[in-house]
Amino acid sequence: MISFQPDFCEIALPEEGHYSIEDYGSSKARWCSGCGAHTILHSVQKLCEDEQLPPEKTVFVSGIGCSSRFPHYMKTYGFHGLHGRALPVASGVKFRRPDLNVFVITGDGDCCSIGAGHWVHGIRYNMKMVVLLFDNSIYGLTKKQTSPTSPLGTHSNTHPRGSVIPPINPIQSTLGFANVSFVAQTIDWKPAHLNATLKKAFDHPGLAFVRIVQRCPIWMRDTYEPTVKDPNALTLLDHEDGIVLDEKAKSTFRHIEQHDPSDLLKAREMAELVKETTPIGLFYQNKNAIRYDEYGAHNLGISVEERIGAINTLMDRYAI
């Protein structure tokens, strides 16, 4: 049996363990037709294929909500846990398993409301993982309640006369958390930008937080339709260190702003832009932020003899 591919061979041998996009697909997604999550699912599966991630080494952890059904539609390991608690679980998975590729799938209610405490600290732990915030600005699964990112005045079943508190800006908030290392924003209806953003996030040595502005055609059609249809509604953040698009993809944007993703203060300013348009691109990246998962892995592989030795040393302190 030939166990290597000779470099003189012109004919490509069938690669052992080559994964096609179908290898990552599980059951048919049960999201509503027209839901932005379908595009994201496809884009994530494409990333897995492009990166040739072994499905058994890949874990999708989610909370509860429409988006959190995501792991069921992947043929990898998945953890569909509790509302708001994806980040602690994912952190526990990654802490002492550096060999696993970890993705977190969360929604605006899951991340920015019930799980907000974990959001602050998950960012601070900065473990290598990709966190995808599917932000459709509404509670969908429970049938249209105001979410923490619903625009002021959103009519919902909990606020039939319009919501009364301004929403959280997840980008701006995340840029304020300690030890933040990667913040990007993209949209579900421009696959080129979505794909490029996911790739950039996956390559980041730390926690990559990506907010994906996502359409909900059932409850939020009126909110998203203008943004989707109006070419003026988006601003592309452009930089050689940012999300790089080819010229063709770039040409679909009317507004392009240069933004250096190493500039945190400027990134926070850019996050404010949301008032006029939706800025998409890489807001901030710091490849050198301290990573808690590196700490978690520092003492892996200690032998049983060493462990017994350490325990006995401590036991000696109590010896009489």
Binding site: G78, G92, V93, I311, L314
Partner: protein, 630 residues
């Protein structure tokens, strides 16, 4: 080089000593005066001499309560004897108080009896006018209560050796107690050196000076000197409290992730291992909150890393949703609950066994789990190892319920020999056997094996939703019925492996006491003392609370009456509106009544104190109509 000063007492047996079987000693003070260090040292010295020892801390709720106040009593009780000591005992025989006001807190708790020796710092007699008046009034009051008072110039004596008596007075008191109870001075000196091993030599020397000075002072100024015969064991012993035993147990169980959030009285279990656990292959993760602490442990365990989370009652309340998930998705996990007084913030530093029903039933839906309750310090160590093993074998969360009494109680026990077999097998990453379902529930035991991320062919999505054998969301109602039955069957399978509890005393009689957790020492001692007086009293102690140890109904049927002894609340018949019919029972009683259809009574209270033998004996006297207390 530390030299023993000239003042070191050379002659230690210049007077007759009264031989006693045991003594209960308390040292009480304001917070921060080192009373606990003094008592812990006395306990350690006695254990090293081969005496039986039990110490229990007296802890105020605040870090710095007002000085000289009833609420501020901080300190320690040391019970030491010729034989094994299993509980804090009844009343103190001798008390050292660094001020007189803190004694009121203890008197209210009925900690003393007429004849108790009170050794009180007398500097307050010449303090401010107000203080002096309070001091004198108190001394008179204490005399009326029948205590023997010794007013001791502790500060004055200490100032002969150090410039600041606040630091070191505790070591002077230790020296004094070492003399009164005939403790080995060399062992005591070594203990002092050990305590201050990280300090410079000057500090060690001045503390030794104080130890010897206290010892010397006791030569002259007291009419009573005791000795407690001891026997050194051939076996190696260790002496520690329950939280320290848990720490060592966590490491010996091969735990790789210990995830916690600070909470009294559980957190010191993490402190004790903090320096060592990383060399023992584990890491402590201090999470952002209680929920994240268990979530992190659940994630780690899902990924094949052995995990524990340590908390107390309020933490259990917050973790409940994740506990349900771990049961539903069958994720092994050890959950240690060092109980305190509840509900709500309750009595953070005090003793209560109030979490039993919350742990057994405190989750929506049917959430069967394994619940263990260690009854000694030694069991705190071994039960963590057992819990880890059970969690993995049965693919389920396992609770270890201790309480503030075990957490801070110090007792010597044979040094465990750490065994390689206690550590879990290395992570199995070999390919998942094709065709085996991820919840392949065994028909007879409900047990199934789980794939771990990294295992080829084992990919599945774990879910908290009702699911079938493939972990697919259950849309068919029959699946849920089958899944819930399978999870429940695991408990039945574990129960098959358990033995009925050991009966202490005769197998039949007038009264059977049933306990769980930290009350074991007090219950067995009370029952034994009652039997010596002719009472037909026996006791059993449950270590497995879920599944329940088998054979209980048979045991109960041989006694005229069965009564639990617990530190939690029950209504008292005869109180306004309370009848035998509407009475709310204590937690184990409630549970046993339901399980065995036996009319079980209970002795329970929520004073926040460990149960003492005399409390039990007082109730036995009423129940049996006998005189049992001398």
């Amino acid at each position: 080089m530390i030299s023993n000063p000239a003042s070191q007492p050379s002659e230690t047996n210049r007077f007759e000593r009264t031989k006693i079987k045991e003594a209960v000693i308390e040292i009480v003070s304001d917070s921060g005066e080192g009373a606990q260090k003094c008592g812990q040292s006395l306990g350690a010295i006695s254990a090293k001499m081969g005496n039986g020892v039990w110490t229990v801390e007296i802890i105020p709720a605040e870090i710095q309560p007002p000085a000289r106040s009833k609420a501020g009593a901080s300190g320690i009780r040391v019970r030491m004897g010729s034989n094994k000591i299993t509980n804090m005992g009844d009343h103190a025989d001798l008390v050292v108080a660094l001020n007189e006001q803190v004694l009121y807190g203890r008197i209210d708790q009925n900690a003393y009896k007429p004849g108790t020796y009170l050794l009180i710092e007398n500097k307050w007699a010449t303090h401010t006018e107000e203080t002096a008046i309070a001091y004198k009034e108190s001394i008179e009051h204490f005399k009326e209560l029948g205590y023997y008072i010794f007013e001791i110039p502790m500060e004055k004596e200490c100032l002969k050796h150090v410039s600041d008596a606040k630091k070191g007075k505790n070591m002077w008191v230790l020296g004094l107690l070492c003399n009164l109870y005939d403790r080995d001075l060399e062992i005591a000196a070594n203990q002092v050196k050990y305590i201050f091993r990280k300090k410079d030599e000057k500090i060690i020397q001045s503390n030794l000076d104080l130890l010897f000075a206290g010892y010397e002072y006791a030569n002259e100024n007291f009419p009573m000197h005791f000795t407690i015969p001891s026997k050194l064991s051939e076996e190696d012993y260790v002496v520690m409290n329950g939280n320290e035993a848990i720490s060592l147990g966590v490491m010996a169980a091969g735990i790789e992730v210990c995830s916690m959030y600070p909470i009294t009285p559980a957190t010191s279990a993490t402190h004790a291992m903090a320096e060592t656990i990383e060399s023992a292959g584990g890491i402590i993760h201090q999470a952002e909150d209680e929920i994240a602490a268990i979530g992190f442990a659940v994630g780690a365990s899902y990924a094949g890393k052995t995990a524990v989370t340590i908390t107390s009652g309020p933490g259990i309340a917050l973790k409940t949703e994740f506990i349900g998930l771990a049961i539903m998705a069958e994720i092994p996990l050890v959950i240690i609950d060092v109980q305190r007084g509840g509900p709500s913030t309750g009595l953070p530093t005090k003793v209560e066994q109030g979490d039993l029903l919350a742990v057994l039933y405190g989750a929506p839906g049917d959430a069967p789990k394994v619940v263990l309750a260690p009854s000694t310090i030694e069991e705190c160590f071994h039960f963590v190892i057992l819990a880890r093993k059970l969690a993995e074998s049965f693919r389920t969360p396992v609770f270890v319920l201790t309480d503030a009494n075990l957490a801070t109680g110090v007792q010597p026990f044979p040094r465990p020999k750490i065994k390689a077999e206690w550590f879990p097998e290395p992570l199995d990453q070999s390919p998942w056997k094709e065709g085996v379902k991820v919840y392949d529930w065994d028909k007879n035991t409900g047990i199934s094996k789980r794939p771990i991320p990294g295992q080829k062919g084992g990919m599945y999505t774990l879910t908290g939703l009702a699911h079938d054998e493939d972990s697919h969301v259950a849309y068919d109602p029959a699946i849920n019925q089958r899944a819930v039955e399978s999870r429940s069957r695991k408990l039945a399978a574990l129960r098959e492996t358990l033995k009925p509890p050991t009966i202490h005393g005769d197998e039949e009689g007038d009264l059977l006491l049933v306990g769980w957790g930290s009350t074991r020492g007090a219950i067995e001692e009370a029952a034994e003392r009652a039997r010596e007086k002719g009472a037909k009293v026996s006791s059993i102690h449950l270590r497995f609370l879920s599944p329940m140890e088998p054979g209980l109904k048979n045991i109960f049927d041989k006694f005229k009456k069965v009564m639990t002894v617990e530190i939690n609340y029950s209504d008292t018949v005869g109180n306004p509106l309370i009848t035998a019919e509407n009475r709310r029972y204590s937690q184990l009683a409630w549970y046993l009544r339901a399980q065995t259809l036996t009319d079980i009574d209970c002795l329970s209270n929520v004073y926040g104190q460990p149960m003492s033998p005399i409390q039990i004996l007082q109730r036995l006297e009423k129940e049996l109509n006998l005189t049992l207390i001398d």
